[in-house]
Symmetry: C3
Subunit: 242 residues, 3 copies
């Protein structure tokens, strides 16, 4: 039995982990999936990265969770990296599921390939409220191309605007890079969100920044949490077992 805290990515929120959480609970695990600051209904659209992390830290501390496997998806990788700096002694392992391992001093945005930076800029410029969205075309072709159309559509309709400051804030990760918590990286082999060009893709570019880490790979897109929650639960188990 493991104790998981699942941290969602940009445009997502805690409830969207439900299909994967159900799979993990069916396998006997304890699963938590709090929502990151800035992604809760009514949150300030100007939320920055530090404010984004605080609710996750609070959730772990207030519930006195220990021996936690802390899992981050996509943007959530930057959140678990900062959260780990604060609650390292409560963690048994960090699992990055196609998640940002941000270089010390960079922002998440700095790690985006130019076309994704341009898409975020364009959306932010159009919305003018501090948030950005993903177009359905990008969602369907780059995030969740392995799902039937109806699932791509229904999940798109559940997404929320994402606060841009959480993406553009520069992150001091010097403590993170000195942590000795064991680390894993789950790589979905059809993930296209960062392109699959070697200089921009998730693995090995992001993953190898972890130093010694455990690699688990599975078929599927960035959003296997929707298109293959059973497969993702299996990968999370393999990534986090002893």
């Amino acid at each position: 039995m493991s104790r998981f805290v699942l941290v969602h990515g940009g445009w997502h929120y805690g409830e969207l982990w439900e299909p994967t959480a159900t799979e993990l609970r069916d396998r006997g695990h304890e699963v938590h999936h709090p929502t990151v600051g800035g992604n809760r209904e009514g949150d300030d659209p100007r939320t920055g990265h530090a404010q984004a992390c605080q609710p996750v830290v609070d959730y772990i501390v207030e519930n006195d969770l220990r021996d936690v496997v802390l899992v981050g998806h996509s943007y959530g990788g930057s959140v678990i990296s900062k959260v780990a700096e604060v609650v390292a002694d409560r963690l048994s392992r960090l699992v990055f599921y196609n998640a940002f391992v941000v270089a010390d001093g960079n922002s998440v945005y700095d790690e985006f390939p130019p076309p994704l930076q341009q898409a975020v800029d364009a959306s932010a410029a159009e919305r003018q409220d501090g948030t950005c969205i993903v177009t359905f075309e990008a969602w369907r072709e780059l995030f969740i191309q392995d799902a039937p159309y109806d699932l791509a559509k229904s999940t798109y309709e559940m997404l929320r605007p994402h606060p841009v400051n959480t993406l553009t804030d520069k992150l001091d990760l010097s403590r993170f890079y000195s942590l000795t918590v064991p680390k894993s990286f789950i790589n979905c082999t059809e993930d296209m969100t960062l392109t699959q060009l070697p200089e921009w893709g998730w693995h090995p570019r992001m993953s190898h920044r972890l130093g010694l880490f455990r690699l688990v790979q599975m078929r599927g897109s960035h959003e296997v949490m929707f298109s293959d929650p059973a497969g993702l639960a299996d990968a999370i188990e393999r990534a986090s077992r002893r």
Copy 2:
């Protein structure tokens, strides 16, 4: 139900799509697989790229096909790119199955890694009739290494000499690169025809030239149309669904 026009690669011809076409028809689709100019019995061995494309354009127009998913394999990628420039309004999607996405102004030959260029040169020099062939050794190890020997042998015996001019003609693809037709790329993860060196392989080198595109991957060699036609039909469905 989709309407597919399947365009074969070098040394191939339309009839060789039969195993894959049967799989697609069994799934309820309409499937066409005309032969490219220069690959029909009796065609001029000096056929160039423009003449190669014309029979595919004619086939689509004369049969008044609309909402076509136009699929190209290997060299056929260069054919569907040029055909799309003429009949874009009849297409719902372009699907490249380990197929050339030629850089504007280049020939197919320009996209070959040096050893493949040398093999084509050597064969053309030996044959002296404007065509080139693939050796059985290359076919067995680089094109269809995932098949039993007997299938490798029987399919090799069905190949035809290929007109070199279709490979060496420079292609103006400026219109192609401005088309907004949705695009997909099917990548067979064991395809060795262009090597798997990042600077020469199919994906992401060729695929990323498509801009926004849908990636579908499957296990197998360049010739899954023979070694795994059911798997290829499944990949084509996933690549072309809404």
Copy 3:
């Protein structure tokens, strides 16, 4: 029916092939798995690469084996390369299973990424007897991360210290690189021993040095010989069939 001679990697010895050999014998093949010099109990810890190869040459010659498929794993790739120079006429194919294809004039050590070089140096400096070992942490996360913990642990306990000279001896491979014996490379897609950075990984970096070769890929870590012996036996069959 094929005749296999399986050559193990560093820290391994012939008996460790038993799970894979059993799978191959169950499929009707003849299987030999001699131990390389320096890895037998009581062998000189200062054994060099030439001495390491000799027992394999002797085994093949003394048993008068012909039509041999010679399979090398990891460090064993360097051994089969040198053995092939001596007994080429007895070989039907060379199969490299995530195995070193050492550049002419290099040592195995020269092909290691810097962190692996440092790990070998540190272990050798600590042991002072001419051998080095792998830490359990590295074994579990980089060599056999796809196995349950108990299998990772039990296999770790079976490993032996490895003579450093076999890794650091420079190898003259000019004859090897002129051999026309057919060659295959089995790539386990989750193998992390050399990292998966393109400039350091097994495939295509090592594999492409073989020139024309047959690629077979399978899921799994460097140690599928323990974590998936049936899958490895299947890959060896596909790599070595006609």
